[in-house]
């Protein structure tokens, strides 16, 4: 447990669901002191527990790196919600918690008798949030999507990639990483409201709608001007050169790149000077932003002729030193070694009983008063069933044993 009390010490969150979009949201609270209990079942394990799973795996459902990295700081209980006696345990968990967060398909909790109207009648101060792709209402609510579909539906795919190629979507199914942030914001705002008024609330968050709200510029461009925005490679509407340029190989790694954005005339003069005032760059067409935007493709080609002769990291450092907006394009191991992220202690090491030592992320913001701490690894499936039932719910030993024998905790 953390040495000093953190923001959400004493706040209790009950989590149903799986994947990343839901569970990453409760991480924000868990990292800052909340007690998060995650309900799972080994009869239908969270799909990210199965990413590397093969039948006969000696680690069972506990060897998934992704699951371990998404779920530290949580307690895990196994509960077979299809068992007739599971609901009584679930209701006791509802009585215990401040916030119920779920990201199942719409209607699953209702099928278990855990819909908001029922729970609110029992506990009006309950905060409950449901997160799914299309929201809890509407004709397509049951559409079974993951982040890949959310990204496509919200418009991110169409806007990412090259104009002459297929749409791509930013790596990592972007709605899965926008959603946890939205959910954390919604839950914190609901806690603030409850603190002030004593009232609970139900929140319906659609990951597609959240994505579209971020892409407001995409929608408003169309509704206000009729223009349908589309993907434009790395070109900017406002700056040129603005691109990603191939650099010299490093050993046998020839996938080395420099990201460079030239925002104004001063930047352009600086870049020309560092390039050694090559003849092509003296072309008057490149003297203004408008001219450079118009001839961006030609410009990109000429710049790449220069960057190819240089190491991306050294060149980026030189350009940044001269006051330009330039960066190497980190691959994954380079990202892990990034000195700025190291300065922020963004990655923390965790010891997991099955996969051993691994890294996990902290929130991307720091507080001057509160430190986000990793206090425990992600739970093995059902690891804390007894602890949660006995200590948090106050179950008697014989009652717990009876339920266990009946197969409730599968």
């Amino acid at each position: 447990m953390a040495a000093a009390p953190s923001w959400f010490e004493g706040i209790k969150i009950l989590e149903f669901g799986g994947g990343a979009a839901g569970p990453l949201a409760s991480r924000y609270f868990a990292d800052f002191g909340a007690t998060v209990v995650r309900v799972e079942s080994r009869l239908r394990p969270d799909f990210i527990r199965l990413l590397r799973y093969k039948p006969g795996d000696p680690h069972g459902f506990d060897g998934s790196h992704m699951f371990a990295m998404v779920n530290p700081n949580k307690l895990g209980i196994a509960l077979n919600m299809n068992h007739p006696r599971a609901r009584e345990v679930a209701l006791r968990l509802v009585d215990w918690c401040d916030v119920l967060a779920e990201n199942f398909a719409p209607g699953i909790l209702a099928r278990w008798g855990l819909d908001y109207p029922t729970l609110a009648a029992r506990k009006p101060e309950l905060i409950m949030i449901s997160t799914c792709l299309n929201g809890q209402t509407g004709p397509d609510r049951n559409y079974p999507g993951f982040g890949g579909q959310g990204s496509a539906l919200a418009g991110f795919n169409h806007l990412t990639g090259w104009p002459d190629r297929e749409p791509l979507g930013p790596y990592g199914t972007i709605t899965d990483s926008l959603a946890p942030r939205f959910v954390a914001l919604l839950v914190a705002s609901a806690l603030l409201y409850r603190q002030r008024t004593g009232k609970g609330q139900y929140i319906d968050f659609s990951q597609v709608e959240g994505g579209i709200a971020c892409l407001s510029e995409n929608i408003l461009t169309f509704t206000a001007t009729g223009e349908v925005l589309t993907r434009r490679g790395n070109q900017s509407r406002y700056a040129a050169p603005h691109g990603v340029y191939r650099c010299a190989p490093r050993g046998d790694d020839d996938d080395r790149w420099l990201a460079l954005a030239v925002h104004n005339e001063e930047d352009w003069r600086t870049l020309r000077r560092i390039m050694g005032e090559p003849g092509w760059a003296q072309d008057r067409r490149f003297d203004t932003v408008a001219g450079r935007l118009q001839h961006a493709a030609e410009l990109d080609c000429a710049i790449e002729g220069w960057t190819r002769q240089h190491d991306n990291e050294r060149l980026a450092a030189q350009l940044a030193e001269a006051g330009l907006d330039a960066a190497p394009v980190w691959n994954f191991p380079e990202l892990l070694a990034d000195p700025q992220l190291a300065h922020r202690r963004h990655f923390r090491s965790v010891q997991h009983p099955v996969i051993g030592e691994h890294l996990c992320e902290r929130p991307a913001f720091h507080s001057a008063r509160m430190d986000a701490e990793i206090r425990r690894p992600a739970p093995c499936l059902g690891e804390h069933t007894e602890l949660v039932c006995r200590e948090l719910l106050g179950m008697k030993p014989e009652e717990f044993e009876e339920l266990r024998a009946a197969g409730v905790f599968e």
Binding site: G135, G148, R181, F182, S189, S216, I219, T225
Partner: protein, 413 residues
């Protein structure tokens, strides 16, 4: 503007930020906070960014209008000798100061009239939230950063793109989206600290750090997998093969992937069934035992054979035809929507997601995306159009005891 009722009603936020944190103020305002955008007298730089509605005019910038709904707007000339005193009165009236620093927009208009320490001394219950490309301190502290370069340094650019081309970013600034919401989370957590402990805080958001989470833990798995990232076009990587995820259809593209697991296999089976009904499921699909399908076991040769049939099939259908089938039969298939399809979505229409905002001062009535979420209290709402430059100077400054006309004459606002 409608009454400021909501989860955060009663909270006043001063937002002095470029585009990179504008969404923070927008979403906090939808939750009921009173968000006052503080601009330099010449206007925030993003007002000069197109596309424009009609003529090129700072009140007609689509990006500015899109990212600043529900806010009020005042101006303040930070460098003016009286700016500090005016800023102090504002800070003392506020619960939150949200600002950006080091981004291209805020570089253009200079520093705040007071340090974080000054502001917290003036108002010990203040939450200060600053958003910058790389966060406070550290080796990159003095570097410039914009969407392209922070996405590059956050590890999300390298794996995005086609294998035969450069890494590629989303054409709209995703780091501002992630960073904006992260900043709103930081503000709400800071407000929780004020509500429960009574003291203010300084919160520091790094856009670079925000871009790590979108990689969905894959970089952190490097010590186990040795996988340094790879661009696979519209696709994903299994243990033994690469898989396509974006497919051309009759009028656009759809997203569909051969991912396994109990949640996804029924969708693959349903698609194969549909293809068979259309007479387009070859034996490699029709006769396969999909119940045992595992995308970490299948070989590239098998994947290629299956994907060839899928590609041929998708080309015979439109995005809408395929999406309707997806909804009816639970297929994990989605159209790569453009704004046009999004605005005409039946799901979004049924949920009354889009809102028509009257903007009489600009003589505009436009359709905007609605609130980012909904709740049982019905208090999450887009509350009005983006402010005109200095629109609320008179009422905000007068309420603090200043003479707005005098401030304007002196060039303070």
């Amino acid at each position: 503007m409608s009454p400021q009722l909501g989860n955060l009603s009663g909270i006043r936020i001063l937002e002095r930020s470029g585009e990179c944190a504008a969404l923070a103020g927008k979403f906090l305002a939808e939750l009921g906070a009173e968000v006052i955008k503080v601009e330099p007298p010449q206007g925030e730089p993003s007002r000069r960014r197109g596309p424009f509605i009609g003529e090129e005019n700072p009140e007609r910038s689509v990006p500015f209008l899109a990212y600043n709904t529900s806010k009020r707007g005042i101006t303040l000339a930070s460098h003016h000798p009286r700016a500090r005193a005016v800023w102090r009165a504002l800070v003392e009236s506020a619960d939150v100061v949200l600002y950006s620093v080091g981004d291209e927009d805020s570089r253009a208009w200079g520093p705040l009239p007071a340090s974080d320490e000054d502001m917290l001394a003036w108002n010990p219950r203040l939450v200060v939230c600053r958003v910058s490309p790389f966060g406070h301190g550290g080796p990159y502290a003095s570097r410039r950063g914009s969407d392209l370069t922070v996405v590059a340094l956050g590890g999300n650019l390298y794996p995005t793109g086609n294998p035969d081309r450069a890494p590629v970013r989303c054409s709209l600034p995703v780091s501002h989206f992630h960073g904006g919401i992260e900043a709103a989370v930081a503000v709400s957590f800071g407000l929780w600290g004020v509500a429960t402990r009574g003291h203010g805080d300084t919160l520091d958001v790094s856009l670079q750090a925000c871009m790590v989470m979108p990689n969905m833990t894959t970089p952190m798995q490097f010590p186990f997998t040795g996988f340094a990232g790879k661009r696979v076009g519209g696709g994903f990587r299994g243990a033994r093969a690469f898989f396509r995820e974006l497919w051309p259809c009759k009028d656009g593209y759809v997203s569909f992937a051969l991912r396994g697991g109990p949640a996804r296999i029924p969708g693959i089976k349903a698609l194969v069934q549909y293809m068979d009904e259309c007479g387009m499921a070859p034996p490699a699909l029709r006769d396969r035992n999909w119940d045992e399908y595992n995308h970490n076991v299948i070989t590239q040769a098998e994947v290629d054979e299956i994907e060839e049939a899928l590609a041929a099939f998708f080309r015979t259908k439109t995005m809408q035809e395929l999406f309707e089938v997806a909804c009816a039969r639970n297929l994990l298939l989605a159209p790569a929507n453009t704004a046009r399809e999004i605005v005409s979505s039946r799901q979004l229409a049924a949920r009354e997601f889009f809102v028509r905002i009257e903007d009489p001062k600009r003589s505009l009535t436009l359709l905007y995306p609605g609130a980012f979420a909904r709740n049982s209290l019905g208090n999450i709402r887009v509350r009005g159009p983006a402010p005109m430059l200095g629109e609320h100077n008179a009422e905000v400054y007068a309420a603090l005891g200043f003479d707005p006309v005098g401030l304007a004459k002196e060039g303070v606002i």
